[in-house]
């Protein structure tokens, strides 16, 4: 997709190796969060990366990073900005919810029993780790169905996918890239519910009271999920009804 003029400047700037952080985090995020849907494969990639002792990476492992983390594509790969490498950062939490919210089995409108969580792996990648052949463009319009994450959404364009995969493996090995393994409570302390609760807390602060029947006027409908159902799903995933002091109006 067509980069904006400011993104184009950023690319030129970066290609000359002079990238410097402008004030706006939209132009120059500190870190980018990437979600992986195959948790078991994600776990083996992390495990092999942190236990790696040789100089060179096995080609088969590099290919797995390309397949499972980069999904075999070289453009339009969704990532989300995060201020810190901490999985409890709101940027990470918004990324987790934004990536998963379109799943049918979270929907209240689908009739079947709703799921409370799903399994994911996430990487939090400092932008300084990215090779010069990988670019990121600020693309809020490409975040489809969770409005609060729009301002965190970027697309990656990868000109050398193997170089990026190796950079990811090096970053994990050197503990420069952070990761998180998400599942249901209580098995996974880094649970999907916890991430949803962090996202909910941020949304409360940013939008005020969150009532699915009367969504905040500045919360925009998504491509396929209305603002009302986004809020309903977020509250369901965060299990807000389970806390000691539920919303007064239910």
């Amino acid at each position: 997709m067509m980069p904006s003029v400011s993104n184009l400047f950023q690319r030129i700037y970066k290609s000359f190796g002079k990238a410097k952080s402008p004030k706006s985090s939209e132009l120059s995020p500190e870190n980018l969060v990437r979600l992986c849907r195959n948790r078991a494969d994600f776990i083996t990639i992390i495990n092999e990366a942190i236990n790696h002792t040789n100089q060179n990476w096995d080609h088969e492992l590099v290919n797995r990073v390309i397949q499972f983390i980069l999904e075999d594509t070289d453009s339009g790969i969704s990532v989300y900005s995060s201020d810190t490498l901490d999985p409890l950062d709101r940027g990470h939490a918004l990324a987790v919810v934004a990536e998963g919210i379109s799943q049918d089995n979270f929907r209240s409108s689908k009739g079947s029993k709703r799921k409370l969580s799903c399994t994911r792996g996430s990487l939090i990648i400092p932008t300084s780790c990215l090779p010069k052949t990988t670019f990121y463009d600020f693309t809020p319009e490409n975040n489809l169905d969770f409005y609060p994450a729009n301002q965190h959404h970027f697309d990656l364009t990868i000109n050398d996918v193997e170089e990026l995969a190796v950079a990811i493996l090096n970053g994990i090995n050197q503990r420069i890239i952070a990761w998180s393994i998400l599942g249901s409570e209580p098995k996974f302390m880094g649970s999907y519910r916890l991430q949803s609760a962090i996202a909910y807390s941020y949304c409360l602060q940013a939008f005020g009271k969150l009532n699915p029947s009367v969504p905040p006027s500045n919360w925009v409908d998504g491509k396929t999920i209305t603002a009302s159902e986004q809020i309903d799903t977020l509250k369901y995933l965060a299990q807000t009804v389970a806390v000691d002091s539920p919303n007064l109006d239910g």
Binding site: N38, R39, A40, D41, I43, T44, I46, N47, E48, I50, N51, T119, I181, G183, S184, K187
Partner: protein, 100 residues
């Protein structure tokens, strides 16, 4: 998620006879779906895969035991690690540390 014990025992025999890749994909799918089991046959079959020379299968079996097998699965893993030489013991231990 749960399934009758006889089905799980049948499934344990079924994946034993499958090509390694099929066994790995099935165990990974069960782990991703947060399947839960205390079926001895299934956990024993998964433990036998820890000895595989295929490092992805060995790690996936360890992941399955720890994410689906609860305390019993963890015991199967440690029993195998402490009593047998595994081709990829370091990676199997790594999974155990990652998921502990």
């Amino acid at each position: 998620m749960d399934a009758p014990s006889e089905y799980q025992t049948f499934f344990a025999r079924y994946i034993q006879d499958k090509p390694l890749m099929s066994s790995r994909l099935l165990l990974a799918a069960l782990s991703d779906a947060e399947f839960s089991t205390s079926n001895g046959s299934l956990l024993s079959t998964a433990s036998s895969f820890l000895k595989s020379t295929d490092k992805r299968l060995a790690q996936t079996a360890a992941t399955f035991l720890l994410t689906c097998g609860g305390t019993l699965g963890r015991n199967f893993l440690w029993q195998t690690l402490s009593t047998q030489e595994l081709p990829h013991s370091q990676l199997v231990k790594g999974i155990s540390e990652l998921l502990s």
